[in-house]
């Protein structure tokens, strides 16, 4: 399990349940490594601010993370973490490798247009 304070997604079925039951979901699929830790930190920081978004992580090396690793939107990705954003169960945006706070924030604003709670 990843050492973060985010919701941990451990199975493909839990992943499916999460995106079905929540309108806006951001999942960071990675390891406890240099490119991933900063993204988890950003998500933890943003979680209270974006209460209409469910923030979660998933271990990249867990075979159950195949819905993210094999998503067509992640084709060509060769750097972890794979960070994916779902709206009403549909994958609407995916990024590869480390992202900055402004990059993450701009995707959240663009994809999850609800006003911040």
């Amino acid at each position: 399990m990843l050492q973060t304070n985010l919701t941990h997604v451990l199975t493909a079925s839990a992943h499916q349940k999460l995106i079905q039951e929540n309108e806006n979901v951001m999942i960071c699929c990675g390891r406890m490594g240099p490119m991933c830790i900063p993204v988890y930190g950003i998500m933890e920081e943003l979680e209270p601010e974006y209460s209409h978004v469910k923030f979660a992580d998933m271990e990249f090396d867990n075979p159950e993370s195949h819905p993210i690793r094999n998503a067509p939107e992640c084709k060509g990705f060769m750097g972890i973490p794979f960070t994916v954003y779902y709206k009403n169960g549909k994958l609407v945006k995916a990024t590869s490798s480390i992202q900055s706070m402004p990059q993450v924030r701009s995707i959240l604003e663009a994809q999850f247009d609800n006003k911040k709670q």
Binding site: P34, F77, M78, G79
Partner: protein, 307 residues
């Protein structure tokens, strides 16, 4: 009446966190403002085996311990903020974050750290995470059975080139000089590896691809001859630069953009100190950053006592 901090520390890597520990333990009202994740480049290190007193620890764990220590002593920390303005000649000194919020401090310690140097060629940003990488341990396994380029000629570049041969079929090391800066052991190990080929006195000019990297164009500097390498990835290890952009408006930097400090970590501006990878110095280690942070905090405390 706005809250006035005794010490505002800009940057939450090992230098900034150590300064935060010392300052807050001395009951100074202390605030750390950090642009990224607390821990700085420390959290980017998988294993630290040469930090005295600790046999082996991940950078992430060590950074978290330092953060916890600082918080325990009452230090306030704001992370993932962007410093958008400052006036260090004012009294108290002013630091603005995110274009709106202002903080006031009687002294300031600058410890923004460093960041990986980019090669700034077409394709580098576009293919980040799609074949362009700065971390072999993170992304090496994506290149199993593939051909890659490694850019650089220091210890990191050659050690990572050797480590990447665990995955890649062929590794082309591209280095701009005719000799390596790496220690002899690293050079020998790389040269002895049959999977590694060297392109000396050469620089990358272009990174090309579609969904991901497919080709890297290099130029042989003495002749100007161009070569197109068909590869799936490129790893860049050409060192770090100080994150001091904008600070030239307030403190004296050297020609490498590093802050010039005295032996007490003081800058040319009274009440402004600097510590860690952002200062002009030769060795950049967690231990040297921690030492700088200690000196900067003690100097700031002394400044507050006498001014």
């Amino acid at each position: 009446m706005p809250e006035i901090f005794d010490i505002i520390i800009i940057g939450g890597g090992p230098a900034g966190l150590t300064a935060g520990i010392y300052a807050s333990r001395a009951r100074m009202k202390t605030l750390i403002l950090n642009e990224g994740t607390v821990g700085g480049q420390l959290v980017l290190t998988h294993e630290i085996a040469n930090y005295p007193g600790v046999e082996s620890i991940s950078g992430f764990q060590l950074g978290n311990i330092m953060k916890k220590q600082a918080l325990t002593f009452g230090c306030k920390i704001r992370s993932n903020v962007q410093v958008t303005g400052f006036d260090y000649s004012a009294n108290p000194k002013i630091v603005e974050i995110n274009g709106s919020e202002r903080f006031f401090g009687r002294t300031v310690i600058l410890s923004p750290g460093g960041e990986p140097r980019m090669i700034h060629v077409p394709g580098e940003t576009e293919f980040k995470g799609r074949g362009v990488s700065y971390c072999a341990t993170c992304d090496g396994d994506f290149f199993t059975g593939k051909d890659i380029v490694v850019v650089g000629g220091g210890n990191s570049a050659l050690e990572e080139a050797v480590s990447l041969t665990k995955y890649a079929s062929n590794v082309a090391v591209v280095h701009q000089f005719d000799q390596f800066q790496a220690f002899p052991y690293a050079v020998e190990e790389a040269k002895a590896n049959p999977k590694i080929k060297f392109y000396m006195e050469s620089q990358v000019r272009n990174i090309l691809g579609d969904d991901s990297v497919k080709q890297v164009e290099i130029e042989h500097l003495p002749t100007g001859g161009k070569t197109m390498l068909s590869v799936d990835g490129i790893f860049i290890f050409i060192g770090y630069i100080a994150k001091t952009q904008g600070f030239e408006k307030c403190v004296i930097l050297n020609d490498r953009g590093e802050i010039i400090v005295g032996t007490e970590m003081q800058t040319n501006v009274p009440g402004v100190f600097a510590a860690g990878d952002c200062i002009a110095k030769r060795y950049r280690q967690v231990t040297t950053a921690v030492a700088d942070g200690t000196i900067a905090a003690l100097s700031a405390i002394e400044y507050l006592r006498t001014n």
